[in-house]
Symmetry: C3
Subunit: 154 residues, 3 copies
């Protein structure tokens, strides 16, 4: 039986990508006490394509928001894989959003809103988190955005 | 009644800025167990002005330290807003300091000392934290420094 | 008596560097509940030399991996100094790996594998962690890599 949050995802017409499996000596998610740590997720869509490039140069802020939204969907996909059900998420505690962007770019918060908004759309108040949004000189596979997370889970 | 730490702030002649309220789907502070997570704070002064620019180019290291100090004051302002009293801080556990700086700049630790020193001035040994200090290719609104935090609270 | 993990280090022919002591108002490691937070460690070798430069420009990816491995050894050195014995590590929960690299560099995961692989070589499954790997526009003292950590300890 799909849970309430999965029902909400369907209602929103959102599809969780397959949770990407790391090909190295790390894991996508790990629980310590009631905190679930989730590895940095990149802007990979459900069809496997990756949004790449530097925001503000190769990509617009709106593109960057879409990329951040994909990162958030991948965080939820990893949480579901780790927890069995998204209903076990009690609170999204922290998101750290890294925006692939050069000197002079200053709209990192707008970009990371793409991830923040998705969390609140799907999880309601449980999706309201603390966050940092910063510029990265480059990111893995040239992803436009990378977001990692800490969730409180029951 | 103001607590001991607020008395200490007054003694030091320090004024906490108004705790900035995020205008998006995230929150400035959130407690999980006895850890208080605080969103990345920028170098906004009590008068609302923001220290902007790239450290090492637009700004000196000393300017950067002042910016980091402002970030730390904003962290304390957020902690006070979340906890009611700064006396509930048991330990500053982690600061992550992002310095707006280009390639070749190498004095990130000196810059972030502005935040670390403020924490110890105000909180004594409870202000001694672990930290990371790194360069960011750019930061929100072109702030010179951004610092996020995890505090242990009682 | 050296513990099991120290025996494993010897078996691998690995020497822990002396745990670097911060010269400022922060600490190398700090425990909150059963989480041990470790400050960002740079690529300093046991002989005191530091691997510096931008990966992809001054240094190859292989050099970057060696630098990341040194960061991981320093994390273990700090953990030993804080805990007395590495056998108290129950799980490496999170590594955040910052690679000193410019725009266009995209192999941050390969670089940070140098740290991830070392953790699993030394600690086995307890070394499997969540992580983020990102590009930094510059790092302290021009270190090639900086890695911070959160460990679960008993």
């Amino acid at each position: 039986m799909a849970g309430d949050i999965e029902a909400r995802l369907q209602e929103l017409g959102l599809e969780l990508p397959a949770a990407p499996v790391p090909v190295a000596n790390y894991v996508p998610a790990l629980q310590a006490g009631n905190l679930l740590f989730i590895s940095g997720q990149i802007a990979k869509a459900a069809d496997g394509s990756l949004m790449t490039g530097s925001v503000g140069t190769d990509l617009t802020v709106e593109d960057g928001q879409k990329a951040a939204r994909l990162c958030a969907l991948n965080i939820l996909a990893q949480a579901k894989a780790a927890l069995g059900s998204l209903d076990r998420i009690q609170q999204v505690v922290r998101l750290t959003g890294f925006v692939n962007a050069g000197a002079g770019f200053a709209d990192h918060p707008k970009v990371i809103n793409g991830a923040s908004d998705l969390m609140v759309e799907v999880l309601g108040d449980k999706g309201r988190h603390t966050r940092a949004a910063v510029g990265a000189s480059g990111l893995p596979a040239n992803t436009a955005v990378e977001v990692d997370a800490i969730l409180m889970v029951g």
